[in-house]
């Protein structure tokens, strides 16, 4: 590619582009590049192929990943790429990326405080930073920064503590004054608002990512590594022999495997029930919202500190925002109006201009709300059956590290160094990772 590049820049573009195109190697035909776009544009776009194969299930694999969302596809990709697994399948009951990876508010950050969490989320943020080159896919990773607003002295103390904990784990954190905040967000009311803004904790490396592209990018890259991505293939039961899980029954037949990896956050209760396991998880619905497209007005991600509201502006111009979960068990991918009102009140408190903006869409997604607000990546009590879930409403930012750590666990049967705390037995042993200090009430995390 570098030779090609030299040739390209050394030649007169208008006269010599065809000779350059001819030198595109066969091995480059799967790669996406600017040059490729030009070549295809000049040759009628006949050279593009589907980004991944529509695989049919084989009778047996080494590892089956249940769930073709972001985490499942990332797991399969890292299993093949980093851990050298050649016989891996991802089973998806619908189409890939149709669940929570397509329903979130696209924010990435690593501003956690506790030791069990922060190294993991920082690892994830580092993976995000190199993701597009790694996958050869434009996931629109945009490190536009995230700002948690401070509204009281006590909150400042708590955020200073959190910022220090972040820096101890190698993450970036910046305590901003109202003057600094005003420079970036001139419309914020820092003088006479109901909840006055007294500063903010910023993580400048945080930001947003095009969520669908994460699923597509991982799917394409995993497929190129030989992973079978099998859609419209719902798992209907587990094959158990002598207390060991040896495969799954699906709507597309029986598929055997040495290891079966559940990766279906949101539906964890439904899937693990088939294996007879109870989980430290309740399923809850979280709503999200996007406004009509607007001119650029919000350069980064903002979270309100006196209520629960977070907002960013998508590259298409829509304000993407959300708030609390509805708070009752639900598997329906829709919520109720009281929470809509609550979220919009939070938004109006910091952006009164929000009242003039029309809402384009709102939707709901199902969250695995765990008992301490932190996830689980672990073996289950059944040999051959592994579990990844309990992401509460923070799963999207964790996608790369979750896939990486789960692949590590599946390939080596030991936890990844950044995910050693995400065990099932932490509840029995009193080793909860409770960022908010809420105890075992899932709807408060």
């Amino acid at each position: 590619m570098s030779d090609l590049h030299k040739k390209w820049s050394a030649t007169d573009v208008n006269n010599n582009y065809i000779s350059v195109i001819v030198t595109l190697k066969e091995s480059d035909s799967m790669r996406y590049s600017g040059l490729r776009v030009i070549k295809e544009a000049l040759t009628g776009h006949k050279g593009w192929s589907p980004a991944w194969r529509d695989a049919t299930p084989k009778p047996e694999y080494d590892i089956i990943v249940i769930g073709g969302g972001g985490h499942g596809l990332a797991t399969a990709y890292y299993l093949a790429k980093i851990y050298g697994q050649r016989r891996v399948a991802v089973l998806e009951k619908g189409w890939i990326g149709g669940g929570n990876v397509g329903r979130n508010t696209t924010i990435i950050r690593s501003n956690y405080m506790l030791d069990g969490n922060e190294p993991f989320y920082e690892f994830s943020l580092k993976l995000w930073e190199g993701l597009e080159q790694d996958l050869n896919y434009n996931a629109m990773v945009s490190q536009r920064g995230i700002l948690n607003l401070i509204h009281s002295d006590a909150q400042r103390d708590a955020f200073v503590r959190r910022g220090n904990a972040m820096m101890l784990n190698g993450a970036d954190a910046d305590l901003m004054t109202t003057q600094q905040i005003k420079k970036k967000y001139p419309f914020l009311n820092t003088t006479d608002a109901r909840f006055p803004i007294k500063g903010g904790l910023a993580q400048h490396r945080g930001g947003t990512v095009r969520h669908d592209a994460v699923a597509w990018g991982y799917a394409r890259a995993a497929d190129q590594q030989g992973v079978d991505i099998i859609q419209n293939c719902e798992v209907t039961g587990f094959i158990m022999e002598n207390g060991t899980c040896c495969g799954v029954e699906t709507t597309r037949g029986t598929i055997r495997a040495t290891k079966v990896a559940s990766c279906v956050a949101g539906s964890s209760g439904r899937v693990m029930e088939m294996a007879g396991l109870r989980l430290p998880i309740e399923s809850h619905v979280l709503q999200a919202f996007v406004s009509e497209g607007l001119k650029p007005l919000l350069p980064g991600v903002i979270t309100f500190g006196a209520g629960h509201f977070y907002c960013s502006q998508s590259d298409k111009g829509g304000l993407v925002f959300g708030g609390d979960i509805d708070g009752y068990n639900s598997y329906a991918q829709r919520g109720n109006l009281p929470v809509v009102e609550d979220v919009c009140e939070g938004g109006m408190a910091i952006f009164p201009m929000l009242g003039r903006i029309r809402l384009l869409r709102m939707w709901g997604g199902i969250m695995d709300m765990s008992m301490d607000g932190s996830p689980i990546i672990d073996r289950t009590s059944i040999d051959g059956l592994y579990f990844n879930g309990g992401w509460c409403y923070g799963g999207f930012k964790a996608t790369p590290a979750s896939g990486y750590a789960y692949a590590h666990l599946l390939a080596r049967d030991e936890p990844h160094p950044t995910a050693t705390a995400y065990r099932f037995d932490r509840f029995n042993r009193g080793l909860m990772i409770d960022e908010k200090g809420m105890g075992n009430q899932p709807n408060l995390h």
Partner: protein, 95 residues
Amino acid sequence: MIIEHPLLGPRDASEFTYMGDAALIHRPDWTATTAVQDFADYGYLRDNPAGRHRELWFHEGGDRSWLVVTRDTTTHAITSVELARDVARREGRSR
């Protein structure tokens, strides 16, 4: 969601605080030899069904009664509402 309160009639769900699975009415026996594990399971494991779910709702913004609401978690449709006190007594938790 509208919850048909047995004493007060139809009330909006936003007046209530959701307190989880109604199975929590049945606190384990602390004298049992398995009490440590029983309480860990009681505190941290849930059935979390997709479908019919019996759950506790506390009427915090109302008469402060506790209700057992039977609701479908896939549709949010409520099929029955009882006072948690009546349910607990019927299931042998009364003293």
